[in-house]
């Protein structure tokens, strides 16, 4: 990381710590915001947050490593999370998974070399009556078929540069 990037990140973290309060209770708020902006939480960011909240960096790391929506490794701009729980499994998630891997050229747990897509497994997304279900960032897709994957990925590519955020109106049904 360039020195200037570090300085900018540090400034942002100070601003976040001031906004959410420099207390232990603010830790998850800060981490969630960093995750949203940078798609991961770097070692440097964890160190700075620890300094700002006056806690040990290991404590910050222990929290980051606990939650599945917080990541140390850099993630793609679009994080695809396919539900692997039983009803989506029965509805055919294996085929959807295979097609996702084929179309993206990566396997689960990986990020495409251009940094656009990460592929992850998720547990129950609460869409069991409309499976197979998957999340792309905060947007939910239901009744996904292998055939629909290409269109969904194209839709993401067209929005490149914009972190996709569902506003509630875009949701299915």
């Amino acid at each position: 990381m360039f020195l200037t990037e570090r300085e900018r990140l540090r400034d942002e973290l100070v601003e976040l710590a001031d906004r959410f309060g420099r207390s232990r209770g603010a830790l998850l708020f800060i981490l969630q915001e960093v995750q949203n902006r940078y798609y991961s939480i770097s070692e440097y960011a964890m160190q700075v947050i620890a300094d700002l909240l006056d806690i040990h960096p290991v404590e910050v790391h222990s929290v980051v490593s606990f939650y599945s929506f917080l990541n140390e490794r850099p993630q793609g701009q679009f994080v695809i999370r396919l539900c692997r729980t039983i009803t989506c499994d029965m509805a055919g998630k294996d085929q959807v998974a295979r097609q996702l891997e084929n179309d993206l050229g990566i396997t689960f747990g990986q990020t495409t070399p251009d940094g656009k897509f990460s592929l992850e497994w998720a547990h129950c997304l609460g869409m069991c009556d409309q499976g197979p279900a998957m999340l792309v960032n905060q947007r939910v897709y239901t009744r996904v078929t292998p055939e629909k994957i290409h269109g969904i990925l194209q839709e993401c590519r067209q929005r490149f540069g914009v972190h996709a955020v569902a506003d509630g109106k875009e949701l299915p049904q």
Binding site: F66, D129, Q138
Partner: protein
């Protein structure tokens, strides 16, 4: 309306928002508690703790700062009724939280919303803003000097165990979501060490309905120990999956007729943490005194391989175990290994019995509900589907 899949009509759609709170605020907090007590309302998250008792204990705990927390960390596999309630009936939920705050004298409410439901947040924030404008939240609610209460939304970060109330509180405090030892219970030592009541989304909505329509109306349905209606999330091999409302005490048989799943060979009640009920026991009732449930009903048709079901749930628990206590952390891995042996047709009866005894140890010795319930499905599948799981060959098929 946002995402909504419901069948038939829900009581929540018929009860006018606002009525419950008007009725509550015209009475003393003690009267409201008596009213809820008379209705027999029990926790809709599945554990079934009497709601009035929880609120009463929090009300009696000394402390100037008290909290009302809505557990919207709906992570139990097969459960999605809270998503529908939050999307369609958020006002009733916030009303129930406000009534709880009135009962226990809380000033702050928190909705702990799971990360997977982030898309619901803008809608919920809008409802909260509207309630603030209407003086249903904030200072001096509904013109009552001294009744100050507001609600904020905290997002989860992806963790099933945070649905356990003490883990949820840990998470709110910025910690890893590891369950605490109980006692002390949240009702006296909760969020930031203050008296806290943690209730399920649906419980709050029912509390508002009970105030609006009366305890007798609520008690008219259900059984003596499980009063009232309950929402169910139905998925799997049935013709009409979705969110349903039924009186508690309904038999699985009757339930399957309603949803079009009559040919099921088993039903998973209560999600991964629940139990797998075989066809021979479909006469049993969905009620706290028989098969308790948070509302997750997953139907398995005749074509399903029950070992695949067991493996899927165990993989889930291995991922979601917080790792604090050994029975859960190691036991789940051992049970999955056992399921894989069974799938290969390489498990002796002696070893299978040893695994069952390990499962029973997990039920007793795990620290929280996750580890205590993780072996349930394994144990029920092993005891009810022996023909299907023993001595498998490569040629085996479910039908």
């Amino acid at each position: 309306m946002i995402v909504s899949t419901r069948t038939g009509s829900l009581t929540f759609a018929e009860v006018a928002p606002g009525k419950g709170m008007d009725v509550a605020l015209a009475r003393t907090p003690a009267d409201v508690l008596r009213w809820i007590d008379a209705s027999g309302l029990r926790g809709r998250g599945g554990a079934g703790f009497p709601t009035s008792l929880k609120w009463e204990l929090a009300a009696k705990s000394p402390g100037a700062l008290k909290y009302v927390i809505c557990n919207a960390d709906e992570g139990e596999p097969g459960t999605f009724k809270d998503r529908v309630i939050l999307a369609d009936f958020a006002d009733l939920v916030f009303e129930g939280m406000t009534i709880a705050a009135y009962c226990i004298a809380a000033r702050q409410g928190i909705v702990y919303l799971r990360a997977e439901y982030t898309y619901l947040r803008p809608h919920l924030e809008a409802v909260l803003a509207r309630r603030r404008e209407a003086h249903l939240l904030g200072k001096g609610i509904a013109g009552r000097a001294g009744f100050d209460f507001d609600i904020e939304i905290h997002m989860g970060s992806g963790s099933y165990v945070c649905g356990e109330e003490t883990a949820l509180i840990e998470s709110l405090e910025g910690q890893r979501g590891e369950p605490r030892n109980r006692p002390p219970f949240p009702i006296d030592t909760g969020y930031l060490g203050n008296p806290t009541t943690v209730n399920n989304v649906e419980t709050f909505a029912w509390a508002a309905c009970i105030l609006a329509r009366g305890a007798d109306w609520f008690k008219e349905y259900g059984t003596a120990k499980s009063t009232g209606h309950k929402l169910f999330s139905v998925s799997g091999d049935c013709q009409r999956p979705g969110v349903y409302e039924f009186p508690l005490g309904i038999t699985i048989e009757a339930f399957l007729q309603e949803v079009g799943g009559e040919d099921a060979k088993a039903v998973q009640v209560g999600g991964a943490a629940g139990q797998c009920v075989p066809r021979g026991e479909f006469h049993r009732a969905l009620a706290y005194e028989d098969i308790p449930t948070g509302g997750s009903i997953i139907v398995f048709g005749p074509q399903r391989d029950m070992l695949r079901v067991a493996a899927n749930f165990l993989e889930f628990f291995i991922d979601e175990s917080c790792g604090q206590c050994t029975p859960c952390r190691e036991g789940t891995i051992k049970l999955l290994e056992g399921v894989k042996m069974l799938q290969r047709g390489q498990c002796s009866m002696d070893y299978l019995e040893e695994l069952c005894s390990l499962g029973e140890t997990m039920q007793l010795a795990s620290k929280c509900g996750l580890g205590q319930t993780a072996p349930n499905t394994f144990l029920s599948i092993v005891s009810h589907f022996r023909d299907e799981i023993l001595g498998r060959t490569a040629a085996w098929s479910p039908e």
